[in-house]
Symmetry: C2
Subunit: 342 residues, 2 copies
């Protein structure tokens, strides 16, 4: 899933260069890193990218080994249920027993080997009919993630799911952490293509009926353009995960982060460093900063706990622990119709 | 005097674009504003610019009405005594009774009418043989300026000078302010060209003797290049002002600032505003900042008391009250031989 248009990395992220296309860690664009991470489990020719028509060319450039037909370009974003439904139809036509690993293109995984092990386990359970979601053992009372309340063990490392929980307030997050049966919802799902189609047909019959027009070999851009605007916009979480009795959670611990904000980069500062720095950065007598220079130089002196991001045409400065307020900047730019900056 | 190479406005100021060429206030380059400010007293054809050979072309572009011969281009900086001596020779050849107004090209004057009145008074006294320096009535215990200790009134608003004082420590600055007879040294001098030559000949005879090779009509660049490297580097303050018995001070109050750092711009924020902003700046829930965007956009959210400067290839961030630490940044860039940024 590589269709996001988020602006939580402004001014680096723009409409035509959202987060999944950014190289935030110096190892490549997040989309390319995500594809490479699972390539030992599912090679490029069996990977499917759902993105927007706008971002399609950039995705193709990043993933030269991806078959052209495996790039599903949405003319308009309709949330994740539509994306999963379309991908499920695409996969089922090629392999009626195919299993989907539904993965966001813009997350970070520290322990790739452990992650692949978890994916393999999840795929095995999915092959048997489960809908498996990865749950991350929480390490702090994070308020920026949704949670999964697990209950009874189901064997194979899986647990039943009592409920999906929205992002909690700080007190609730502390309770979740203390409880021990709450896991972070990483938004990664594993299920047979047929199961995805069955469950979407059961819970969102109109959505799946409309999508079935795309259940042909290589649907034309015109066909997609006539179907997509009519689709209901709903997340796969609401449409299926919170409703289906096939859902199970596989707890995992592999250094997962959704890289949700400039603040989150601070967690990836090198061992022993107090600052996360990328690009040509001079930090004098300061620390605990997130500093990023994209094609230029950032020089800071005597400052702490700041986010400073330089691009050729814009600079952002905000306190490290107020990264979420970037949305206020983006809102102001939108209000002023500053499309050139967005 | 427009030969400065200071980097106190990095990243906006660079080797080939020092402060006097910058438009810090939105009303034009400081050099052009300085020339226009005194044009009613001395028109462009009688203005003389002393600058470096490097900056000469840029100065000419800013001052299209300046006669070509009136731009004195130094192949190497030799401090202000040499600059004043050369300018004095140039002026005396055109008018043996000519009076010099020796003015830095990069200061800011809020009350231009009051300033011109003060200049006219100073010129009148200079015509009678005095060396007049403008002294600014201090409004705060500033440690960033030199001071002039005035004593007895001499008539015409002038005072005798007991001593020039270096930049004081905070306690001394408070004493100066309470005393009432200490004025800020604005570095602006008024004296007859012949007096300048006489006093330089008296106190720095070797310097003046060497300069006399340039006392010809339109000296060639080769002549200048053969003289200049041999000159003693000394300020006009040390060479003449602190030694001559002709010196008098004219107190003035016309909103003077030497615009010595990014911090100083904060004093020029609009009435009622807590932030000085220039260029395309978004400040959300913050204040007391100095924010400048040169050809791009600066967006800050939730920050106070910061200096943020964006140029296409560099961003500076430092606390407003630590602007002097910019020199540490410049030193680091110099140590790394980052000529492209300097």
């Amino acid at each position: 899933m590589a269709g996001g248009v988020g602006r939580r990395f402004w001014p680096l992220s723009r409409s035509e260069r959202p987060k999944q296309l950014l190289d935030l860690f110096g190892d490549g664009a997040l989309l390319a890193v995500t594809a490479a991470r699972v390539a030992p489990l599912t090679p490029p020719k069996r990977q499917v990218i759902v993105t927007s028509t706008t971002l399609g060319p950039a995705c193709r450039r990043l993933l030269p080994d991806l078959p052209a037909a495996n790039l599903l370009a949405e003319p308009v974003g309709k949330n994740t249920a539509a994306a999963v439904g379309w991908a499920a139809l695409h996969v089922r036509r090629r392999d009626p027993d195919g299993v989907l690993m539904v993965l966001p293109a813009d997350h970070h995984i520290a322990d790739v080997a452990a992650y692949r092990d978890a994916c393999a386990k999840a795929v095995k359970a999915a092959r048997a009919g489960r809908i498996v979601t990865l749950g991350i053992e929480p390490t702090r009372p994070e308020t920026g993630y949704g949670y999964i309340n697990r209950t009874a063990p189901l064997g194979g490392g899986l647990y039943a799911v009592a409920a999906f929980k929205e992002k909690p307030d700080p007190g609730t997050a502390r309770d979740y952490l203390a409880d021990g049966d709450y896991l972070w919802n990483a938004g990664m799902f594993f299920l047979r293509a047929q199961v995805a189609i069955d469950e979407l047909t059961r819970f969102e019959p109109e959505l799946m009926a409309a999508l079935s027009a795309l259940d042909v070999d290589d649907p034309s851009a015109e066909a997609v353009a006539s179907v997509y605007p009519t689709l209901k916009s709903i997340s796969i979480d609401y449409a299926v995960m919170e409703r289906s009795d096939k859902v199970a959670v596989l707890p995992g611990d592999f250094g997962w982060s959704d890289v949700g904000s400039w603040r989150s980069l601070w967690d990836f500062r090198p061992a022993g460093a107090s600052t996360f720095a990328r690009g040509d950065v001079y930090e004098i007598d300061g620390g605990d900063n997130v500093l990023l220079a994209d094609g230029g130089t950032v020089a800071v002196v005597g400052v702490r706990d700041l986010i400073v991001v330089h691009t050729a045409d814009a600079t952002l400065v905000c306190p490290r622990e107020q990264a979420q307020r970037l949305r206020e900047v983006v809102a102001a730019l939108e209000a002023d119709r500053r499309e050139g900056l967005l």
